[in-house]
Every structure is written in structure tokens, then in C-alpha cells.
């Protein structure tokens, strides 16, 4: 039961119930979709990037509490971060869920440390990382921000 309390902390339950930045974005210039075909979770991530800085982030989708809360807290964190900072956090977050963490990382992760409990539930790690993989794809696979004005 202790592990369960660690997993479903108040912050996660709250962000699941009231996800932040839960809307589409008409002027987004980075976009990626994340799907987990095994469980049917899916998520659309919208970013607005200006001069290597993420000035706005939002998402839409369906998923479990862990994946929704993760997307909500991630988008919250992304505002004002550089692409490089986002990439560093992607790696730190991934390590948080799969490896023992050092104290420096705990400081870096801040609020996102709330997902530490997921490590005890290997089957749920993918739920927590879905939004972050979408972020990684949005920043990479779309190489340059796609503008709606190009056509």
C-alpha cells in the first residue's frame, strides 16, 4: 500500500483530474503525436518554439492518471525552457523512472520527482514517459519547426 501511495500522490491525482494546458494550439509550430498501441493511450503535443525557446506548450489526448499527469506537469514545466534544457530533462526524467537517482538530478527534476514512485511499477513506466517521447519527437523528427504559413 505504501508503494501505491507513492504512485498516486496528491499532485498526480490533481493533475489527472484538472490537467493544465489541456487544449490544442492553433499557432503551434511543433507538433507530435504519442501513442501507446498496447494500451490505447494517445496524446497530441503542441509547442510554440521561438529562437530555440519553448514559449508555449499544450496537449490533448486520452490516457491513465500517470500519463495525463505526466503530460500536464511536463507542459507546465516547458514554458520558457530552451530546446537543450528540454532534452536534458527528457534524459533526467527517463533515468528517474528506470535508474537509481543522484541528488543533483533530484534538484534538477524538482516537481517532476513526484513520478519517482512509478519505478516500482515497471508496467507503468511507459505511461509516464509517453508525453516526453512525444516531446522528443516534436523537437527532433519535425527537424525544423513547421509553420502553418509556409503553404
Amino acid at each position: 500500500m505504501q508503494a501505491l501511495r507513492e504512485l498516486y500522490q496528491e499532485l498526480i491525482v490533481d493533475h489527472n483530474k484538472h490537467p493544465r494546458h489541456f487544449h490544442d494550439m492553433t499557432d503551434a509550430n511543433c507538433f507530435a503525436e504519442g501513442v501507446n498501441p498496447l494500451c490505447g493511450d494517445q496524446l497530441s503535443l503542441y509547442l510554440k518554439v521561438e529562437n530555440d525557446v519553448i514559449v508555449a506548450a499544450s496537449f490533448l489526448g486520452k490516457g491513465c492518471a500517470i500519463s495525463v499527469a505526466s503530460a500536464s506537469l511536463m507542459t507546465d514545466w516547458l514554458f520558457g525552457k530552451t530546446i537543450q534544457e528540454a532534452e536534458t530533462m527528457f534524459q533526467a526524467f527517463h533515468d528517474l523512472l528506470t535508474e537509481e537517482k543522484s541528488i543533483e538530478d533530484a534538484e534538477l527534476l524538482g516537481k517532476l520527482m513526484v513520478f519517482q514512485g512509478v519505478r516500482e511499477y515497471p508496467t507503468r513506466v511507459k505511461c509516464a514517459t509517453l508525453a516526453w517521447h512525444a516531446l522528443h519527437a516534436a523537437l527532433h523528427d519535425a527537424s525544423l519547426p513547421v509553420s502553418t504559413e509556409d503553404e
Binding site: L4, Y8, C39, D41
Partner: protein
């Protein structure tokens, strides 16, 4: 109904049930995904490996004779279990999925052409959708779908339109793995035969819960898996009417399925061997045979009454939980309950239940079209076997209530 002592005896036959998971007694409610195996099955397979292991057919030595004998006896066991006329009508496969693929590939490829129709239902498992979709893409045939109502029952009002002169194959489940609905297939099979179409029945969820007789049912093909019938994984059955099997081309080529091979031409064995290329799952066939022996020692009506009582008790208790909705409320149901809870994703329900030692399944259950029909991404599903108890349902309900507390 099973008496308490009968139930206790049955539970003692299943070693895996007697353990703690997350400090709670294991409550195994994922039987529709795979059932547990009784000692009789485990020991039959062990015994084969300890004493009789050899490859089947053509071996001129004692162990091979024993293995072949046991393997072919298993075939007869299955034949009698489902009431088939000939043992040659029983093809061993890896499971229901392979059985359906075999028919789609062998019968479908040679009988379907552009303009033909393959009729499925809305509640099919992906295993009874995707193989047909793949063969339709290659042949130009079209998929047609029998609709369902909100309770999860087939709607057969337009059967005359659904089954018409273009219909060549009807592939339909006898019991829905997601909803538990038991389908009465009589009208569908009669109508299909009237227009000359063949009917494949997916019996994966039916065989553990009801008496199956393929002659009475008069289906052309019947498919099921060993592991949902308390037998091993890796073994399944395709029943096909003998004239159909004889006329069908092989599914896979290789050893054990040929009469003669030359570089110019190969000739094939008769069914069932024509469809059993390569070394089969011998121990698994023997395990399935033991599972049938084990299952048949019980009075099926007693088992059904017990499972039905569990279903009614679970549904009644679940409906008392605010915000819980049952998905699938057909009049005739096997002991499978799908449900959703307001504000709690099925995966979260499953994780919380697991912390109470309760194993259920959460997801789309390989029925994504059905999830679309109910406009949900996933459901939670509890499925009961005859070794489950009312006390286990009580533990399940306590865990469900805790899930609601966490999220409200």
C-alpha cells in the same frame, strides 16, 4: 451449484492460486486472457518429458511410437470433446489466432474474389478481424459487419441484407471476450448456408464455459485455444468439415505434411496432416488432452451455475459503487464483466487492484472497434473461472472502493 467442499477440492487442484501477491491472497480474475492449469495438466506434460519425449510420426523406435500414440489420442480426445464426426477434422495449431489465419489464408484465398463479402460482427477479437481484412485487401472482397445494440447483443433484424448472394464467409464469435455476450448462432448459420456461405466460429471464450457440439451447431469451421480451457499455451484447434479441409490447399509447407517431394513437384498428405507442417507442439497437445479429461470430470451444469452465480453477485456488488458502469449487459452472458469508473482510467484501476492481489485486465482487449462503439479508450475486465469464489469477489469490491477513494 458447486458445494463448498467441491470448490475447495477444485482450488486445491490449481497450485498457482495458493500464493500471496503484494501481501494479499492472489485473486485471479484474468481468466479470459488465460486460465490457470491444474496439476493434472502440468503433470501430464512433465510425465511426457520425463518418460516419453520423442518426435511424432515415422520414428521407428519405442519413444516415438509412444509420443505418436499420445499425440493422436489427444486428437481423438478433442474430436469427442467438440462432437466432431472424424478425427481427421481436428487440426492442431498454435492457437485460435493461427486457426483463423489458416482458414483465411487457405480457404479465403482460394474462394474470395472482388465483389464477395466476408461478414463479421462488431464484437470480434482482432484475431477474427485482421486475418479477414488482410485477405480482403488481397482478393478485393469486402468486410461487412453485423451491428450490436448498447447491451452488447447482435442486432439481426437485417440479416437478410447482411447475408446475401455475395456473402462467402461468416466469421463470428460464440462468446465475446470483452463483453461476455453469448451469441445464439443458429439463425446466422442457417441463413449463411442457405446462400452457400461458410461459417467459422471463434470458440476461444466459449469452450471453457459451455458445451460445444460442432455437429449440432453445424458450423463449417470452429477454432479454440488450449490455454483458455485450463490447458497449455502454444496449442490450439481448428475443426473443419472434412470435405472442406480435403479441398483446401496447405497453409504452410514443410516436413510432416507431404507425401512425396521432388524438385519438380510435391504432393501433400490428407487432412489433418496437410495442415501440420513441421514438428508440432507435442507436449502441449498431450497437456490439452489432460485438460479436457480434467474439465470433463465435472458436471458442466454445476460449473455453469457456479460461474453464473459469481457473475450475478459481482455485477450486483459493482452496481452499488457510485460512478461504476458495466459495459456489456446482454441477457445471456458468460462470467466476464467489463466496466469503467468515472474519472479513473482502467489502467489505474488495474494497478490499484493489483496492490490488493487482484489480477484483472485493463485495455482494449483486442477489440478496438468495440471500444469505439462504446466511445471508451479502454475498459477494466474481470473474468471468472469455476475455481473463483464469492469471497474473492468481496476482496475485489473492497479494492474497487479504494480506487474510488484515491481518485475522489
Amino acid at each position: 451449484m458447486l458445494t463448498d467442499s467441491e470448490l475447495k477440492k477444485i482450488r486445491s487442484d490449481f497450485p498457482v492460486l495458493h500464493q500471496k501477491v503484494n501481501n494479499h491472497p492472489l485473486v485471479y480474475f484474468d481468466n479470459a486472457a488465460t486460465a490457470q492449469r491444474p496439476k493434472a495438466v502440468i503433470e501430464a506434460m512433465d510425465n511426457f518429458y520425463y518418460h516419453d519425449n520423442a518426435n511424432v510420426h515415422r520414428g521407428i523406435h519405442v519413444l516415438s511410437e509412444r509420443a505418436t500414440h499420445n499425440f493422436e489420442e489427444a486428437r481423438k480426445k478433442v474430436q469427442h470433446f467438440i462432437g466432431a464426426k472424424h478425427k481427421e477434422e481436428i487440426v492442431f495449431t498454435r492457437g485460435t489466432t493461427e486457426s483463423i489465419n489458416l482458414v483465411a489464408e487457405s480457404y479465403g484465398r482460394t474462394h474470395l474474389q472482388a465483389g464477395d463479402e466476408v461478414l463479421l460482427s462488431y464484437m470480434e477479437h482482432h484475431a477474427n478481424i485482421v486475418p479477414w481484412q488482410m485477405i480482403c485487401e488481397r482478393t478485393g472482397a469486402k468486410l461487412k459487419i453485423i451491428p450490436i445494440n448498447h447491451a452488447g447483443e447482435l442486432v439481426l433484424n437485417d440479416l437478410d441484407k447482411l447475408i446475401n448472394k455475395h456473402t462467402k464467409i461468416v466469421a463470428i464469435t460464440q462468446v465475446s471476450n470483452s463483453l461476455g455476450t453469448i451469441n445464439d448462432l443458429t439463425a446466422i448459420i442457417d441463413k449463411a448456408h442457405a446462400v452457400g456461405a461458410k461459417v467459422l466460429v471463434d470458440g476461444a471464450q466459449a469452450v471453457p464455459h459451455m458445451a460445444v457440439n460442432v455437429l449440432e451447431l453445424d458450423c463449417d469451421f470452429y477454432c479454440f485455444s488450449g490455454h483458455k480451457l485450463y490447458g497449455p499455451t502454444g496449442i490450439g484447434i481448428l475443426y473443419g468439415k472434412l470435405p472442406l479441409l480435403k479441398a483446401m490447399p496447405p497453409y504452410q509447407g514443410g516436413g510432416s505434411m507431404i507425401k512425396t517431394v521432388s524438385f519438380a513437384k510435391t504432393t501433400f498428405l490428407e487432412p489433418p496432416h496437410k495442415f501440420e507442417a513441421g514438428t508440432p507442439a507435442i507436449a502441449e497437445a498431450i497437456g490439452l488432452s489432460a485438460a479436457i479429461d480434467y474439465f470433463k470430470q465435472f458436471d458442466l451444469e454445476k460449473i455453469q451455475a457456479h460461474e453464473h452465480a459469481l457473475l450475478l453477485y459481482a455485477e450486483a456488488q459493482m452496481q452499488k459503487i457510485p460512478g461504476l458502469t458495466l459495459i456489456g449487459t446482454a441477457k445471456h452472458k458468460a462470467s466476464i464483466v467489463s466496466f469503467i469508473m468515472d474519472g479513473i482510467h482502467p489502467h489505474d484501476i488495474s494497478t490499484i487492484l493489483d496492490s490488493y492481489g487482484v489480477a484483472i485486465r485493463a485495455g482494449h482487449h483486442c477489440t478496438m472497434p468495440l471500444m469505439d462503439f462504446y466511445q471508451v479508450a479502454a475498459t477494466a475486465r474481470a473474468s471468472f473461472a469455476f475455481y473463483n469464489t464469492q469471497e474473492e469477489i468481496d476482496a475485489f469490491i473492497v479494492a474497487l472502493k479504494h480506487a474510488r477513494e484515491i481518485f475522489h
